[in-house]
């Protein structure tokens, strides 16, 4: 499966800035079963510096410094991504019991588990607490296989929360989301992560895209025409299992990964420092096209 992604972002500043420094995370990363075949980034006004590197989480970052007076910045990213994902686990019940996973995650001997320890801890936007644990608990019956418990949690979030853009922003705390039961994909992903961490499990945030055109005969997927976000749980003896609480499914061949992180702050698409007063306007447009089947 190959996709072409076109992502255009425009920031319009309230006042002119003489310089700006930006970090852009909009390039699909190389991931298990995903390869990047082509990428092109175009920035207006032309930057004095544009450098690519791989960050701590393995995501692609562009450092962009613009050194001419400008009132807006346009970032256009075109990429082609090939998906060849390994098959999803055939039977979710064939996974370790969740309590055993919690215990295994405390071990310090296993390198893989040590690496996952990062995602057990709080992160800037996700703090484990009793309320999140209480919400999660019905999905975590004693000795339930971890994947089944997570799948159940995902279904509950999908069923009990309403997808509603515009009432949350990138810094809305989880307690608000839990209270109002409304939000967007980012909120649901972070909610699921918060629930899992509150149970003593390791979970990470995944940013990316989801195919926009509905396959014939199927319902249109929410989160189209924009960046998407979902999450992944660490399953001992298996690895990271991705799941999408916004759409209640396990990502397979319609999700394109841009970045992994502890939460949104690690994969913020564009971060920047400008020298100008006032609020800026942001507009984004995204197209995800399937090139073959």
């Amino acid at each position: 499966m190959t996709y072409r992604i076109h992502h255009e972002t425009r920031y319009r500043y309230a006042e002119r800035t003489t310089v700006s420094y930006n970090e852009i995370r909009l390039c699909p990363r190389t991931a298990d079963g995903q390869s990047l075949e082509e990428k092109k980034v175009h920035i207006e006004p032309p930057p004095a510096e544009l450098r690519e590197r791989t960050d701590y989480f393995g995501n692609v970052v562009w450092y962009v410094a613009i050194q001419q007076p400008h009132e807006q910045m346009r970032v256009t990213v075109d990429s082609r991504v090939r998906l060849n994902r390994p098959a999803l686990p055939a039977d979710l019940s064939q996974s370790v019991a969740w309590e055993a996973a919690v215990e295994r995650l405390q071990s310090t001997a296993d390198t893989e588990i040590t690496a996952a320890a990062e995602y057990l801890l709080n992160s800037p936007l996700i703090a484990a607490d009793a309320a999140l644990a209480a919400y999660a608990r019905p999905s975590f019956a004693p000795h339930r296989p971890l994947m089944l418990a997570v799948s159940d949690l995902m279904q509950r979030i999908h069923a009990e929360f309403e997808f509603m853009p515009g009432i949350t922003d990138t810094t809305t705390p989880l307690s608000e989301v839990l209270k109002h039961r409304k939000g967007v994909c980012q909120d649901f992903a972070q909610l699921a992560i918060g629930c899992l961490r509150s149970m003593g499990l390791a979970a990470r945030y995944v940013s990316g895209y989801i195919e926009t055109l509905p396959p014939p005969g199927k319902e249109k997927l929410q989160g189209a025409d924009a960046s998407h976000a979902w999450c992944a749980v660490f399953v001992p003896d298996f690895g990271w299992l991705e799941f999408d609480p916004t759409n209640n499914l396990l990502p397979f061949d319609q999700h394109i990964v841009v970045g992994y992180g502890r939460d949104f702050t690690d994969v913020t698409p564009i971060k920047g420092v400008i020298y100008s007063a006032g609020q800026q306007e942001l507009s984004v447009s995204v197209d995800v096209d399937r090139l073959d089947t």
Binding site: V19, Y56, Q106, L121
Partner: protein
């Protein structure tokens, strides 16, 4: 405190003994000075011997002298940073903490090993991560630490060492063993104070330092300069090394400025710098100057708002990317704060074995990390006996503050530990050895800790400073801080040679001579120092004249007197409008006629503009602290004293007048020092430009508001006399024109006399000369705007005809031509000032983030 030491014997004579160095009673623990058998320990013998010949009274005198010196330096070690300067400074004790060669060898070897080890740990954490994958460091301990900066992963400077500076807090236990209490790995906080303390000690105790074979610090600082110069990635001849300072109001700013001025490094902040083409540049009056090395004295989180903490101010966006490019070096490497974690302590012995194949040389008190269930269980079971500390410490935590158990509240700690155990550590308290401090005319034993410093030298080894800074206190947690600071003396086996920073130039030392160029912000601050100093002086003079006249006017009963007072007060108020909270015009009403007597109220408001000018002067002067000689700084400190005094004197006319006299003297001393002691570099040119602009501006305003006159209030002799007095022209005038007061002769002296340093034309001539010296872009020979403006002002005054100027308007009775001329000059001066400010100073608006920053949470 418990001790296994033998029961001490009484060694002390009666309290009125002339021998001041004996304690009333030997402390029941290890004491630095006295051994348990009542003998003076070897390293102290010479010091005590010198005191015995010198006598107690002399020692006391010197103790006071050192206090006075440090106060003049303005170097209060503000343990609790208070921008208002209300903190009580810790006194520097006349008694140093003295170490013999054997003890210091132990300390040096221990710190060299520790620095080396921590450097390897740092490289591993931000690189391959073997310590984590091998289980030698628990992942949670690192991942949850606020100092673990993920953007710094793989971004350490491309130098062999990454921990260029290492500082450690040390203490001796009651058995005499030296322990390491805490690692400081971000910046050498305290190194500037150490330098300053030693300088003060050398002034007061130079004879002791020389005869006692005390190791000098200068070779250490020479080594530091060489080491920093050798870091330069391009290895070029003339490295530009700057101190990346915290904000001027920060408690540590003083020592940073002190260090900068000693090492001859510019002291810069984020707004002085810019990142272009992957390099860091210093904005100077001559344009951008490439920076090779930044010695940062600010926490790493606050260094780059793009990649690190977006909520911090004064950082430099793009700095981390510049270090990745490898064209410049930041010391210590960004991210090194991850090592300031007491939770590492239990793991370091095994890591030292693994990485160095050695046992740790310096012990630390037993420490537990609560993130480990077993250690946590121990801590919870013994919580009342332990000192609990979070894993994250403020980078500039003053030493000793974590020494003693937190008071009570073990339940509070219990809850916090239960919620997020991996964020807490506990350690056994250390019963600390005592050292003598000089109090009440005698030696008193106080528990003492010290901090010392190591640098990674060009030879890839660590050099430990033969000295440091110590703190003696009976209560380290007291607020305000309690106790004394001490200089640390290390006795050498060989006599000490004098090495000063400029006596033995090495090839690298030579390179240090390169001029960094005056940073634009420095130039701007100097410009405002000039303007505010001048404004304060003229305001003080005017107030003084008002008070003087007032005292005389009650006898004269003249209407003119009243008018004159009102005009002068009016000028003062117009120059700096008083705060007017009630929305009333307050200028009237303060002068009133009662029964033919003029009453005047000089209240706080009238001094407000003066006080505000002085405040602004101090702020600007503080921001360029490294530019002032110690004499100049002493004068500034005196001025600060007068300023505080002035604030308390409102209403008391006579006292106020005396206070103003003293203030004017200080301001004149300051301006004299600026003229006579500052090198005539660009910085000085900007300072004097500010001064000339302000003086001419104030002078034209004063003349315009007093000598233009009108039909109702014609210019009278009293008014002219007041203006001459205020502007320091009265003596010259009397000598030249005897007692005949006329407007044309007054104006001749005030406006036209180019030999009179208080005349308007004199200021404008100077201004014009300064402006010519300001740097211009290469190849630009056209007359610049600021030159044209100054030329125009000079020409207008020179071409004025005195008789013409003294003409009055037949209807209004005002000297309308004088009014117009001064109005034009004033406008030209304002435009000159604006133009200079626009061209030469930094105009970076406040930076802002494109995305909202998340709140800080505990991980």
């Amino acid at each position: 405190m418990t001790s296994n030491a033998p029961m001490p014997q009484r060694v002390a004579p009666a309290a009125d003994s002339p021998i001041c160095h004996t304690y009333a009673q030997l402390p029941p623990v290890y004491d630095e000075l006295w051994s348990p058998d009542g003998n003076i320990r070897h390293p102290w013998k010479r010091f005590i011997g010198t005191i015995e010949t010198m006598g107690c009274a002399e020692l006391r005198q010197r103790h006071q002298e050192i206090g006075r010196q440090l106060k003049e330096n303005g170097a209060a070690y503000n343990i609790h940073g208070d921008p208002m300067g209300n903190q009580r400074p810790l006194e520097l004790d006349i008694i140093p903490l003295i170490f013999g060669p054997d003890d210091w060898r132990t300390i040096s070897a221990g710190l060299q090993q520790r620095a080396h080890l921590l450097d390897l740990v740092l490289q591993d954490i931000y690189g391959p991560g073997n310590l984590l994958s091998e289980g030698l460091l628990p992942a949670k301990l690192i991942y949850s630490h606020r100092g673990f900066l993920r953007p710094c992963w793989n971004a350490l400077p491309q130098t062999r060492r990454h921990l260029h500076f290492y500082s450690a807090d040390l203490a001796r236990d009651t058995a005499g063993v030296i322990h390491l209490l805490a690692d400081r790995t971000q910046a050498p906080y305290g190194i500037g104070h150490t330098l300053e303390n030693r300088t003060a000690m050398a002034n007061v105790m130079g004879d002791f330092l020389r005869s006692g074979k005390v190791q000098r610090l200068s070779s250490f600082f020479r080594g530091l300069q060489d080491a920093l110069a050798a870091l330069t990635p391009h290895g070029h001849e003339n490295p530009l090394i700057a101190i990346y300072a915290s904000a001027a109001r920060h408690r540590s700013y003083f020592e940073q400025a002190y260090l900068g001025s000693y090492l001859n490094y510019p002291v810069v902040q984020g707004e002085d710098l810019t990142v272009r083409e992957g390099q860091v540049w210093l904005k100077t009056l001559y344009g951008l100057n490439r920076v090779d090395t930044l010695l940062r004295m600010r926490p790493d989180r606050a260094c780059d708002p793009l990649e690190l903490d977006p909520t911090t101010e004064g950082g430099l966006p793009g700095l981390l990317e510049a270090t990745r490019q490898g064209h410049m070096v930041v010391t210590n490497g960004l991210g090194s704060g991850v090592l300031e974690n007491p939770g590492l302590t239990p793991y370091l012995p095994a890591i030292a074995q693994r990485l160095l194949g050695q046992a740790l040389l310096l012990p630390s008190p037993p420490t537990w990390w609560c993130g480990d269930p077993e250690q946590c269980a121990y801590v919870l079971a013994h919580i009342d006996e332990l000192i609990i500390t979070p894993t994250h410490q403020a980078p500039d935590t003053p030493m000793g503050l974590t020494l003693e158990p937190q008071p009570g509240d073990s339940d509070g700690w219990r809850q916090r530990i239960a919620a997020r155990p991996h964020l807490y550590t506990a350690r056994a308290p250390l019963a600390t050895a005592t050292a003598p401090a000089f109090g009440e005319n005698r030696f008193v034993p106080f528990p003492t800790t010290l901090r010392t410093f190591a640098i990674a030298t060009a030879e890839d080894d660590y050099t430990v400073m033969p000295g440091g800074i110590a703190r003696s206190t009976s209560d380290p947690a007291a607020s305000p801080p309690d106790g004394y600071l001490k200089d640390v003396w290390v006795i050498s086996e060989a006599p000490q040679k004098h090495i000063s920073l400029w006596m033995q130039p090495s090839p690298i030392g030579q390179a240090l001579k390169r001029q960094a160029g005056t940073p634009s912000r420095t130039a701007e601050n100097l410009f405002w120092v000039g303007r505010y100093a001048e404004r304060a002086e003229l305001l003080a003079r005017m107030l003084r004249t008002v008070l003087q006249h007032f005292e005389e006017t009650s006898d004269r009963e003249s209407e003119g007197g009243e008018h004159c007072l009102a005009s002068l007060l009016g000028v003062i108020r117009q120059l700096a409008p008083r705060p007017d909270p009630d929305g009333q015009k307050a200028a009237e009403g303060d002068i009133r006629c009662d029964d033919g007597q003029v009453a005047i109220t000089i209240d706080r408001h009238d001094t407000v503009s003066l006080m505000a000018s002085l405040d602004a002067l101090f702020t600007a002067a503080q921001a360029v602290r490294e530019r002032w000689s110690s004499d100049t700084w002493r004068v500034l400190n005196d001025m600060r004293g007068h300023h505080q005094h002035l604030g308390r004197l409102a209403g008391a006319h006579r006292k106020l007048r005396f206070a103003l006299d003293r203030l004017v003297s200080s301001l004149l001393a300051f301006s004299g020092l600026c003229m006579e002691s500052m090198s005539r570099e660009l910085g000085w040119v900007l300072l004097d430009t500010g001064r000339r602009i302000e003086r001419s501006w104030m002078l034209s305003e004063l003349i315009r508001r007093t000598l233009v006159g009108s039909a109702e209030a014609p210019v009278d002799a009293l008014m002219m006399e007041s203006v001459l007095m205020t502007t320091e022209n009265i003596i010259t005038y009397r000598r030249r024109y005897r007692s005949f007061l006329a407007l044309n002769t007054v104006l001749d002296l005030l406006l036209m006399d180019d030999k009179n340093p208080r005349s308007l034309i004199f200021q404008l001539d100077q201004l014009q000369a300064h402006i010519v010296e300001l740097p211009r872009k290469r190849g630009h020979y056209r007359v610049r705007d600021e030159e044209r403006l100054a030329l125009e002002a000079v020409t207008r005054i020179r071409l004025s005809d005195m008789d013409h100027l003294c003409e009055t308007d037949p209807e209004t009775g005002a000297h309308f031509r004088l009014d117009a001329l001064l109005g034009q000059v004033r406008a030209l001066l304002e435009r000159t000032s604006d133009t200079i400010s626009h061209i030469y100073f930094i105009h970076t608006p406040k930076s802002r983030q494109l995305t909202n920053a998340p709140p800080e949470v505990d991980l």
